[in-house]
């Protein structure tokens, strides 16, 4: 199945621990979560071995249950795919169409049931508060039994509850999908929110190195935003404005991008549209460029949050262009994107009957931290032009290139774009200025049609006039940005990066050393045995159990298990504590692997 389809990929969706959604990353497979929970609540109570036994015990039974569910779902999926991939029969007699529709409805019904079963199962079993049976008083064997039966009871209860919800018909199919998605994360999110690390109040809480936020410069930003020039108020700010954004802000964005992207010519404010966050820009862009079911090519691993952007509202799919960690012919570095790979992915998509409308690039790349050279960028754009593909370039991290030896080239810096009418650039302040809570994203496109169409969303994805004013003041203050903010931010990022990478080196963990972005992409393959996504997830949950949130590679559609993204843009204290927990988990993991190795031959 193509793109974000099919249960396998749905599972990824569940795994997603994307920066737009601070979450423990959720709930699949269930056994892993249970394990994590077990650990998180008792690692200080139970001896390690006992815990492991318990976990392994739970694991197998839940795995069966989940497998059954997934299997059921796969069946339904396949059925639906068969139905929907049939070419549209326009001349079909009405009767038959009706019949088809009816069948479709039945399928939809089945699918919803399975959906609910699965989400219910995950929800119900995924993250429960520690149950008494999990307590240290239980002996390992009996405890497992009791816990298992109780969890099954719980599952049954959950399902019957969900059935009631289902019968109530309150939500549309897509509403149910959206809701199930949110729900699966909701519990996690609540758990995280309720137990966040705080350097005074809750030192035992979760440290979140999974969400890409820059927390290193909140002092500078708070100070700047508190200055009196920020608090200007005029009636125009409280009234409806141009849907594309206030003219003053669009002008400032154009000036800002001209300067920081080193554009050869002055950028035109008419080509700027501002919306409430880059997610909104991407979602609006995907909607106006693609019809439902059409697709965008995207090199993977890549930031999974965009999946939601494209799917929740717009039903646009993403077709992965899988990159390899291994360096092969034609590539000079791991995970290198080449035109050959693009060609191949496009061909595959076309063979699958997918209509590909564009190419999505993230530069600097997330999670790799890669920065595309001028030449490669040009090649990608030429490739897109050959096939009349739009190119959406997300340059959200363009000012977070902290290594001076790395030269970032914005697409807007190019002398001439191969296909200016199909090249659309996205930027926002969330990462580069560490203000994700501002909800600001900007689109720059030469294509007036696209700009106009995206502007229609200005009403649904608009930004408060007061916020627009503050943003304008912020972007205007070049003096502060160039002399205070950027140097400080870069040196802090550099220091944090150095700290983390030294730790990783000491642990002999391979990672990509890139000098841009807020993250390190590292390889923990060595700690997985066997090297599977299941094991990757187990390790992820082991981190969670130790109150550390990282993002597993599967979230980024990485095709090789074992990769993790770690956000290093946090304050020294939590960072240090996080690395301590990180080390603990890996040491524990290694011990377990050794035990496993010893046990395996014995079993044989």
């Amino acid at each position: 199945m193509a793109g974000y389809k099919g249960p396998g990929l749905r599972r990824e969706a569940h795994l997603c621990c994307d920066p737009t959604h601070p979450s423990l990353s959720s709930s699949q497979p269930v056994e892993a979560k249970t394990k994590a929970q077990g650990m998180s609540h008792q690692s200080d109570v139970l001896p390690c071995d006992q815990l492991r036994d318990q976990v392994i015990g739970n694991q197998s039974s839940h795995t069966q249950l989940m497998e059954t569910l997934l299997h059921l779902r796969q069946t339904v999926d396949d059925c639906i795919t068969q139905l929907t991939t049939r070419p549209p029969q326009l001349d079909l007699p009405l009767e038959e169409q009706r019949h088809n529709q009816a069948t479709g409805e039945q399928e939809a019904f089945l699918r919803r049931v399975v959906n609910l079963l699965q989400s219910g199962a995950m929800w119900g079993l995924g993250l429960q508060a520690p149950r008494p049976t999990l307590g240290p008083r239980d002996d390992a064997g009996g405890g497992q039994q009791a816990q298992l039966s109780r969890q099954l009871d719980q599952l049954v209860h959950q399902l019957s509850h969900l059935e009631v919800a289902f019968v109530s018909h309150d939500l549309s199919n897509r509403g149910i999908d959206i809701s199930a998605f949110e729900r699966s994360k909701f519990q996690d999110f609540k758990t995280y929110q309720g137990d966040k690390y705080h350097e005074d109040k809750n030192t035992m809480g979760f440290i979140n190195l999974g969400v890409s936020e820059n927390k290193l410069c909140t002092d500078l930003m708070t100070e700047r935003l508190s200055r009196s020039d920020m608090n200007h108020l005029e009636d125009a700010l409280l009234q409806y404005s141009d849907q594309r954004g206030q003219p003053f802000l669009r002008e400032e964005v154009a000036r800002f991008l001209t300067y920081y992207c080193k554009s050869p010519a002055r950028l035109d404010p008419e080509n700027v549209v501002v919306l409430s966050g880059c997610c909104s820009v991407f979602s609006a862009l995907a909607t106006v460029l693609c019809d439902p079911g059409e697709a965008l090519l995207t090199p993977t691993p890549f930031f999974g949050g965009l999946v939601m952007g494209s799917y929740l509202y717009s039903k646009v799919e993403l077709m992965p262009v899988h990159l390899d960690s291994e360096i092969t012919d034609g590539s000079a570095r791991p995970f290198q994107l080449t035109v050959d790979k693009l060609e191949q992915a496009l061909l595959e998509a076309t063979l699958k009957g997918k209509k590909v409308r564009g190419l999505l690039l993230i530069n600097p790349q997330n999670p790799l931290g890669d920065v595309y050279s001028r030449d490669s960028l040009e090649e990608y754009l030429e490739f897109a032009k050959r096939y009349n593909l739009h190119v959406i370039i997300d340059e959200l991290y363009m000012l977070s290139v902290f290594d001076d030896s790395v030269t970032f080239r914005s697409v807007l810096s190019m002398e001439s774009l191969p296909d200016p009418n199909r090249t659309h650039m996205i930027w926002g302040t969330s990462k580069d200025f560490g203000i994700s809570g501002f909800r600001f994203g900007a689109l720059y496109t030469h294509n007036k049609e696209v700009a106009s169409a995206v502007s229609s969303f200005g009403f649904l994805n608009g930004i408060s006039g007061i916020t627009q004013y503050k943003l304008c003041r912020l972007l205007q203050d070049r003096e502060w940005i160039d002399k205070v903010y950027l140097p400080t931010n870069h040196s802090r990022l550099k220091a944090a990066h150095r700290y983390i990478t030294n730790k990783l080196k000491a642990l002999k963990i391979p990672f990509l050393n890139r000098g841009s972005g807020l993250y390190v992409w590292m390889n923990l393959k060595e700690y997985l045995q066997p090297c599977t996504f299941e094991e990757e997830l187990l390790l992820h949950h082991r981190f969670l159990g130790n109150k550390l949130i990282l993002s597993p590679g599967k979230t980024y559609m990485c095709k090789e298990p074992g990769w993790f993204r770690l956000i290093f843009s946090d304050k020294p204290l939590p960072l240090k504590l996080a690395m301590h927990r990180f080390y603990e988990v890996l040491a524990e993991q290694k011990r377990d692997l050794r035990v496993k190795q010893l046990e395996d031959p014995q079993k044989e």
């Binding site: 749905r10 809570g437 501002f438 106009s452």
Partner: protein, 547 residues
């Protein structure tokens, strides 16, 4: 969740429906023939109409998807009307001959109070948590404040719960998100017409959901006691009609106080409508965005949240925003209150597209918390100013002998200018609107609200006195200069709140009301696409700016 080919992907990307069978193959650029092909007034039955904002549209863009083409078309239509105004906006000093805007429903009367309040030191707090990713439903402190605020001002019998509150960037977003999570592509909501036309676009852009108009009459007939009265019978008929066309109706939208009528539903009426919805398992979205803009105390407004017992609480969703009641449409703060956790969760997960800056969330919480200021300063002053402005405009209209409807709520007067349209066509209505614009005053015409009778206009009065006077002066010039009394002039019993003002001039034209043949009103004379597009221009232009 993701994936799985769904019905949507098979469905056509435009709002589908019977109306689209009238499509021609013409493209965006050459609309000459199309205007004739599209005769909305002929195809619409009397009692209801299935909205199909995109019928007849086909995109020829090489860059946009087909839905992208439609979305762009929404924008272009908005642009054209809006551009005229914006290129020549009135400014007392810089452009005194510019266009006065009596079309956009914004309250510009209390900026002094608001600006003072929003500049107080408690508003200016900046802290790291406000700068980072929030809970997508909105910061808890704000949701708690909204719950307390609504409990108090809606006179809720029991305290409302913060858990039931979702905060978004404006009510437009609430409509969009609700449409998406409640309906499949192509399904519909019922809505009494005339209504605030931008809703058409809100539910269509992302959600691809349609509106079925429940047409209301200016004529008072049968058991009705006032013009444009909504009754359960009318709802039933519209629902049946839609069903008979194979359209699945999933909900009912009620705007209370109503826009553009200014009508207020009594608790008994509200109860009846809710019972109707419950009978048919329809969701009810109650838009109460003008709830604190009821400036006539005698009106006795009741929020749906004040009802002792909701017939179907799981399907009742209430929205409110600060745009109107606090005159801050540019602030983009709206909120959904629903007891249905599924709906709340689903809407919340769409909030990543409809988020609101943390700093603004803090300001909103501070504002809503300040009951002293709201009750003792803001509301009394705001109501007094609204009342004064209303009295002035009502007086002007009366002097012109123009019947109008106004019920002491909202920012607008729904005026009957049918006597200025000799043929009583929408074409004339548009031409009259154009004459207003040529005389530098922007108003909204009835077609933009899906009003089925040509000749109704909405005038917004919540503006500063000097602009209002100038605006009304220009209105008068147009009407006095161009007054064309029809041979068979329409008359209609319209009334103001509590029948306080009876307008004499109407009786001078004792004509029949509502006898026009709807077929005669189609747009058949103007030879360009622009004209054909006009109704949509208005829908998008004013409605966007004219909530």
């Amino acid at each position: 969740m993701f994936a799985l080919p769904e019905k949507e992907s098979r469905a056509p990307s435009t709002c589908p429906g019977p109306a689209s069978t009238q499509d021609l193959d013409s493209n965006c650029g050459d609309g000459l023939e199309r205007e004739c092909s599209r005769k909305p007034d002929q195809k619409l039955p009397e009692l209801y109409g299935v909205g199909d904002p995109t019928a007849g549209f086909s995109s020829n863009s090489s860059h946009l998807s087909s839905r992208g083409g439609i979305i762009k078309w929404f924008w272009d239509s908005a642009e054209a009307g809006y551009r005229t105004y914006h290129m020549d906006e009135y400014d007392e000093d810089k452009n005194p001959s510019g266009i006065i805007n009596l079309g956009t429903s914004e309250n510009k009367l209390c900026f002094d109070l608001l600006s003072k309040r929003l500049s107080q030191s408690d508003m200016l707090r900046v802290e790291p948590a406000l700068l980072q990713y929030p809970d997508w439903r909105g910061h808890l402190f704000l949701r708690e404040e909204v719950a307390r605020f609504l409990s108090f001002y809606c006179k809720s019998p029991a305290p409302l719960q913060a858990e039931n509150v979702v905060v978004l960037n404006g009510c437009a977003s609430v409509f969009s998100a609700l449409a998406t999570v409640l309906c499949e592509v192509g399904e519909a909501f019922l809505i009494p017409a005339p209504y605030y036309g931008a809703i058409t676009q809100h539910v269509c852009l992302y959600g691809n959901v349609r509106l079925v108009s429940v047409y209301l009459d200016s004529e008072v007939t049968g058991p009705d006691t006032r013009p444009f009265q909504l009754t359960v019978e009318k709802l039933e008929m519209a629902l049946q009609g839609a069903n008979s066309q194979g359209i699945k109706v999933k909900g009912l939208i009620l705007i209370n106080p109503q826009n553009p009528l200014g009508d207020i539903y009594s608790p008994a009426e509200l109860q009846n409508f809710l019972e109707f919805a419950k009978r048919h398992e329809l969701h009810v979205m109650v838009d109460e965005v003008y709830m604190l803009s009821v400036f006539e105390e005698s009106v006795g407004y009741r929020s749906v949240l004040s009802l002792e017992r909701l017939p179907d609480p799981q399907r009742t969703h209430v929205m409110w925003a600060t745009s109107k009641d606090f005159g801050m449409s540019g602030l983009r703060f709206g909120t959904l209150y629903t007891e249905n956790r599924d709906v709340a969760t689903a809407v919340a997960s769409l909030c990543r597209y409809h988020g609101l800056s943390g700093l603004v969330q803090h300001q909103m919480a501070q504002l809503l918390r300040d009951r002293d200021w709201i009750n003792q300063v803001y509301l009394p002053e705001n109501h007094a100013r609204l009342k004064a402005a209303h009295t002035y405009v009502a007086g002007e209209l009366r002097a012109l002998g123009i019947p109008f409807l106004s019920r002491g709520a909202g920012f607008f007067i729904w005026a009957d200018l049918r006597k200025y349209l000799p043929e009583g066509s929408f074409e004339e209505e548009r031409r009259l609107w154009r004459r207003f614009l040529d005389h530098k005053v922007l108003v909204s015409f009835g077609k933009a609200f899906e009003c089925k009778e040509p000749g109704w206009f909405r005038l917004v009065f919540s503006d500063k006195a000097h602009r209002l006077c100038l605006g009304m002066q220009r209105v008068r010039q147009v009407l006095e200069g161009k007054s064309q009394v029809a041979e068979d002039p329409p008359a209609c019993q319209t009334q103001e709140p509590r029948d306080r003002h009876r307008h004499a001039p109407l009786s001078a034209h004792p004509g029949e009301c509502g006898t026009r043949n709807p077929g005669s009103t189609h747009l058949s004379t103007l030879p360009s696409l622009v004209c054909w597009l006009f109704p949509f221009k208005l829908i998008s232009s004013w409605s966007q700016y004219g909530y």
